[in-house]
C-alpha cells in the first residue's frame, strides 16, 4: 500500500510542485492550505509523514507543532518542517517541540531531491 504524506503548505506553487513530485515518487498525497484544515487532516488521514510549513493562515505551524508534540511526546507520524525561517528565535521555538524523528529543512537552501531523500529516510 502507498504511504500517505500530508502537505500543510499555503503557498500554492510550493504545494503543487511538492504534490506532483511526491506522487511521481509513488506516495499518496493529502494537502491542506491552512493550519485548521491541516490539524483536521492529521486526524482524518493518518499520514505516515507530515510536511509542515510554519507561517500558515488560521493556525500557524508553531501552534500545530506544539499541539502534536505536547510535552515532547514522540507519538504520531514524524514531522518534516519545511520553512524559510532560519533565525535564532524561530529555530529555538521549533526545537523546543521537535523530537528525534523530526527534521527541519530550509526551503531556499534545499533541493527537491533532498526533500525526497529526507522523507524516505524518515519513513524507515
Amino acid at each position: 500500500m502507498k504511504k500517505k504524506i500530508l502537505i500543510i503548505e499555503d503557498e500554492q506553487s510550493l504545494q503543487t510542485v511538492l504534490r506532483d513530485r511526491l506522487e511521481d515518487e509513488g506516495f499518496d498525497i493529502a494537502v491542506a492550505l491552512d493550519g485548521v484544515e491541516g490539524m483536521r487532516k492529521v486526524k482524518e488521514q493518518k499520514p505516515a509523514v507530515i510536511i509542515l510549513d510554519m507561517i500558515l493562515p488560521r493556525k500557524d505551524g508553531f501552534t500545530i507543532l506544539e499541539t502534536l508534540r505536547r510535552k515532547k511526546i514522540p507519538d504520531g507520524p514524524p514531522i518534516l518542517v519545511l520553512t524559510n525561517l532560519a533565525d535564532e528565535t524561530n529555530t529555538q521555538r521549533m526545537r523546543a517541540s521537535l523530537v528525534d524523528k523530526d527534521r527541519v529543512l530550509i526551503k531556499s537552501a534545499t533541493s527537491m531531491n533532498s526533500v525526497v531523500a529526507a522523507l524516505r529516510a524518515m519513513m524507515v
Binding site: V17, N84, L85, A86, D87, K107, S108, T110
Partner: protein
C-alpha cells in the same frame, strides 16, 4: 537620566524593528524564490521525459542560475543584517575542518566545473583537523572564499586549499591563479559592497558582501582573515583556534 532612558528604549525599538525586518525579509522574499527554485529544478530534471528543445533547456538553466544568485544575495543581505545587529547564531564547538572543506567543495563543484576550475584540497583525505568554531558559519566562509577563487580564476586553472599549524592556531589557505587584486584597493576589500576594479571589469557577478561577512564571522570565531595577492593569483588565509586535543599526526603542515 530621562534622556538616557528614552535613548535606550528607542534603541530597543530599533533592534526590534531590525529583527522583525530580518524575519519578514527571510520569509517573504525566500518563499517565492524557493518556489521558483523547485519548479525550475523539476523542469530541468524532466523525469517524466517530456519533449524540451535545446533552446528551452538553455533558458531554463539560465533562469535557475539567476534565481540561485538572487537566493544567495538575499542570504548575504540577511547575514549582514544579523551580523551587524549581533544576532548571528554562533555556537563554538570542536569541528573537523576536513569535512567542512569537503562539504563546501561539494556545494560549489558544479559552479567550479562550469568555470573550468579544479578544486584541490591537500588535507581533506588525511584525517581530521580539529578547530574550535561554529561549523555552519565557517562552512559559509569557506564556500564564499572558494566561490571567489573560482569566479576570479579566469578559465582553466586549479584552486588549492591547504592547512598549516602555527602554535595553537590553524591556518587555512585558499590559493588561486586568477586576476589578483590591485595593491591600492586591498585595504578596502573588507568594506561592505566594495568590489575591486578588475573584479567589476570582469564578467563575474558579485554583491561585494562576501568578504565583509567572512571577516565578521572570522572575528566571531576568534579568528583572523587576511589576503596576499600578486599580479597573478590571490591567497586568502583564514586562521582559527585549533581544538585542544587535536590529532597532531593527522595534520598536514
Amino acid at each position: 537620566m530621562i534622556i538616557k532612558k528614552k535613548t535606550a528604549s528607542s534603541k530597543s525599538r530599533q533592534d526590534k524593528l531590525q529583527s522583525m525586518f530580518v524575519s519578514i525579509v527571510s520569509h517573504q522574499l525566500r518563499t517565492p524564490l524557493s518556489a521558483v527554485k523547485w519548479l525550475l529544478e523539476e523542469l530541468i530534471d524532466n523525469r517524466r521525459g517530456e519533449p524540451v528543445s535545446d533552446f528551452q533547456q538553455r533558458y531554463l538553466e539560465q533562469a535557475y542560475e539567476s534565481n540561485e544568485r538572487m537566493i544567495s544575495l538575499v542570504d548575504d543581505l540577511l547575514n549582514v543584517a544579523r551580523l551587524d545587529a549581533g544576532k548571528m547564531r554562533n555556537t563554538i564547538l570542536d569541528c573537523d575542518l576536513s569535512s567542512i572543506v569537503q562539504s563546501a567543495i561539494v556545494e560549489i563543484k558544479m559552479f567550479a566545473h562550469a568555470h573550468n576550475v579544479t578544486l584541490r584540497c591537500t588535507f581533506c583525505n588525511q584525517g581530521q583537523v580539529l578547530v574550535r568554531c561554529d561549523g555552519d558559519n565557517i562552512r559559509l566562509v569557506v564556500q564564499n572564499l572558494l566561490s571567489n577563487a573560482v569566479k576570479y580564476s579566469g578559465g582553466k586553472s586549479v584552486v588549492i586549499i591547504d592547512v598549516a599549524q602555527k602554535g595553537k592556531r590553524t591556518i587555512i589557505g585558499v590559493h588561486d591563479q586568477g586576476i589578483g587584486i590591485p595593491m591600492i584597493e586591498r585595504r578596502r576589500l573588507f568594506q561592505p559592497f566594495f568590489r575591486a576594479s578588475n573584479a567589476q571589469a570582469s564578467r563575474a557577478e558579485g554583491s561585494g558582501l562576501g568578504l565583509y561577512i567572512a571577516k565578521k564571522i572570522a572575528t566571531l570565531n576568534k579568528g583572523k582573515l587576511w589576503i596576499q595577492s600578486h599580479k597573478k593569483g590571490t591567497s586568502v588565509f583564514f586562521e582559527l583556534p585549533a581544538a585542544v586535543e587535536r590529532k597532531r599526526r593527522d595534520l598536514v603542515i
